[in-house]
Symmetry: C2
Subunit: 453 residues, 2 copies
């Protein structure tokens, strides 16, 4: 295997709808993304929109309701690793139609009947790899998928208890009891909608990239505020944390080859042909070499959280399914994340071994109701721990209570503190060379603004 | 499908080594199991022993060191569901050889050199189904598998840091650094040994049952106290909790078709042929019928923690892969647990559909260091919650500080409080009709007695 064998095999993406120009590293400016409303999915970024009966023409911004831009504050930094920004973000209001309208409905009437909509807020970060293509597609598409998924179940969401049948028809007299016993709540329909939206978006990205001859993938971290509750869905290694007065709590966990080792090894155990005889499923503390043959060395397999010793055989010298430590860990020597969108075409260089069977687009869901959320791509977390970010948030906000731009300033300050220019408030002066995106989302003001609909 | 289609397909087990006679329901007596020491694995319950170089003749009890019988207190009740007790238990001292001895070594010398052994304590509960055969085999075998697994790694366990090579030879100068970076500690070797022991024991049970034409399976809940730490390994629906002065903490979690729904559905998604077209992978709040056809009903699939609606098709009317609610939930209409030992031959009645691919023998591991552990089979937990058991433990022990039999009495009291005879100290008078086994293990006195070796 050549030295370049495990290099990421991507080139910067080709032409795609409205990629953001790279930003100069020295002066990050607040990110303002065009708002999206119902029907914005019909842009080129979501090619399936024309086939959906609910895809309507983009409404003119002037006619839409004002977006709560102060609902979230984003900063994005381009590390100049690639021509286009591999970090992409999207945020805006979600308008979910509560009633069934025919395709011929009057747009004006829809605008007037605001109570026929359930509104929520949406924030999303996508960290691309192999070019920005998948991240841009996801930023343009996922909210439309989510809106459609939510509209498909909205009748159940606004009911006191989700009915067994969406029609409200009761086939079996004890249907409400069955639903009650399973403990199914309106929140579970939102969670299900987010899970299905990730799957749908992944399929759209797969089709779009194939059709346009592009490649790549991205992580996805999404926060949705709906009916007074915050939902966080994560697939990849971005992170969201909740900062409260006396505590800091993770709202997501990272999915990397290391954190998902047992699931990935288990799949290779059940389907050894996925490795095509080129990799070993076993984990060792380092890659083995000829001198280790016949020795008893530390190892672990799919069924083990602990470690044991095994006598090294020739097949153990193959390249490991998961190799490297911490942020250097790679799946099949190629990918640093184990969940995300895209990568349908991705193969190990010079082989036919596919990454996708090991890579899931299934997000992990968290449900929260309080305080301040910080969402950021990995560049921030490389340099600052949860606790350091919490300390920065807690020390910054109380002194800036009157500043209407304090959340935006906080996002900016968090990014600056990773650039090693002024040692930052952490005083540790660590430096990040990655793209960085940060959202700061104040939950309480969200709750006051949008807990109704 | 007939009404009896989902009945457990087992008959009481045939002759097996030393099954305990059924105990009368009315008067549970303290359980005293013959102690096991090194080499006890050469009995008929562990057929692989003769092939191991370390399998030695059973040492006469009179020559072994005294077992700390007051280390754990067990109560077992037979609900008279079957001729033999389906609950089985084992406990005793684990003696792990620290040095390599040849087969010809003088037994006397071994006895004199106690410091060449690492000693620990072992408690295990096995809740059988389809007869007691698997539970009896597990009670007679698992400790031998564990001893062998521990002996295979003991040099690494007693080192300051487990070496990369068991020989201590350093093939690569930075080997200690690789081990350090992976964070591998001596505890991880004990965890790995427990995980491997479960796998090995499962294989032994599979071979033994097949050879003797018997069937069945069992859950396994194992606690091991070694080098001042408590390890709990669980596969099935028994439970261990830690009771401390101000808190109660679960030491295990249950593995049932409900708690492992996503793993099981995922396997059926990847391998649809495992269901032979007879089952549907999807979960619905109740089993669907013809009237539901064409309706949109609540469902969830392998990638969903939440719920959504789908239009019912004919294939959705099949029997569900997982059906029923709570303790009634069954895997393929057959099994109430999703992890355990045995069941290699188990098939859905009148079909060729195997349970084993969905059933794992992989335990979940917890590591603890303090206070009081209560281990019990499901009969106790059916009637008493963790909090109720904790309340009973906390109210009983302080008033009985001087009683040398107080832990034994506590185990007896816990079982009595499930029999509805005297309303028990809970005053709730709920009654269990299942076999019940209870261990009460005081950790601090364990720590004092055996933290050395």
């Amino acid at each position: 295997m050549s030295a370049g064998w495990f290099r990421r095999r991507f080139l910067p993406g080709g032409p795609l709808p409205a990629p953001r120009p790279p930003r100069p590293r020295a002066s990050p400016v607040p990110y303002r993304r065009p708002r999206f409303l119902r029907g914005s999915g019909s842009g080129p970024g979501s090619a399936d929109a024309p086939r959906r009966p609910d895809a309507r023409p983009v409404r003119s911004p002037a006619r839409g309701r004002a977006l709560p831009w102060n609902a979230g504050y984003a900063e994005i930094i381009n590390a100049e690793k690639s021509e286009f920004n591999e970090d992409q973000a999207a945020c805006g209001q979600l308008c979910i139609r509560r009633c069934e309208f025919g395709a011929e409905e009057d747009q004006e009437w829809l605008t007037l009947c605001a109570e026929e909509f359930l509104t929520g807020h949406y924030w999303a970060l996508f960290d691309g790899h192999g070019g920005p293509a998948a991240a841009i597609l996801a930023a343009n598409t996922l909210h439309s998928c989510l809106r459609r998924q939510l509209e498909a179940v909205v009748e159940g969401m606004v009911a006191l208890q989700p009915p067994m049948h969406l029609s409200g028809r009761c086939v079996c007299p004890s249907d409400p009891q069955f639903v009650e016993e399973k403990g199914i709540r309106a929140e579970d329909l939102v969670i299900g909608a987010l899970e299905n939206a990730f799957q749908e978006c992944d399929e759209v990205i797969g089709r779009e990239l194939e059709a346009s001859g592009q490649v790549g993938g991205c992580t996805a971290l999404v926060a949705v505020f709906l009916q007074g509750k915050l939902y966080v869905a994560n697939a990849g290694d971005s992170r969201a944390i909740l900062v409260r007065k006396d505590e800091v709590r993770p709202l997501s966990s990272e999915f990397t080859p290391e954190t998902e080792r047992q699931r990935i090894q288990q799949l290779a155990f059940v389907y050894p042909e996925l490795l095509a005889g080129e990799f070993t499923r076993l984990e060792f503390p380092r890659r083995l070499k000829g001198d280790d043959l016949g020795q008893k060395v530390l190892f672990r397999d799919h069924h083990m959280r602990g470690w044991s010793y095994k006598c090294v055989e020739k097949s153990d010298l193959k390249y490991p399914l998961i190799h490297g430590q911490g942020r250097q860990a790679r799946l099949l020597g190629t990918l640093a994340v184990s969940r995300g969108l895209g990568d349908h075409q991705l193969r190990v260089l010079d082989t036919n071994i596919q990454l996708k069977p090991f890579l899931l687009s299934v997000p992990q869901l968290e449900l929260q109701e309080e305080d301040v959320v910080v969402m950021a791509t990995d560049g921030l977390w490389d340099v600052l721990s949860n606790e350091q970010v919490a300390r920065l948030v807690r020390s910054f906000l109380p002194g800036n209570q009157e500043d209407p731009h304090r959340f935006s300033e906080l996002a900016k300050m968090l990014i600056h503190s990773t650039q090693g220019k002024d040692d930052g408030p952490t005083g540790e002066g660590q430096v990040s060379y990655d793209d960085i995106s940060v959202f700061v989302i104040p939950l309480h003001s969200q709750g006051q603004r949008s807990s109704g609909h």
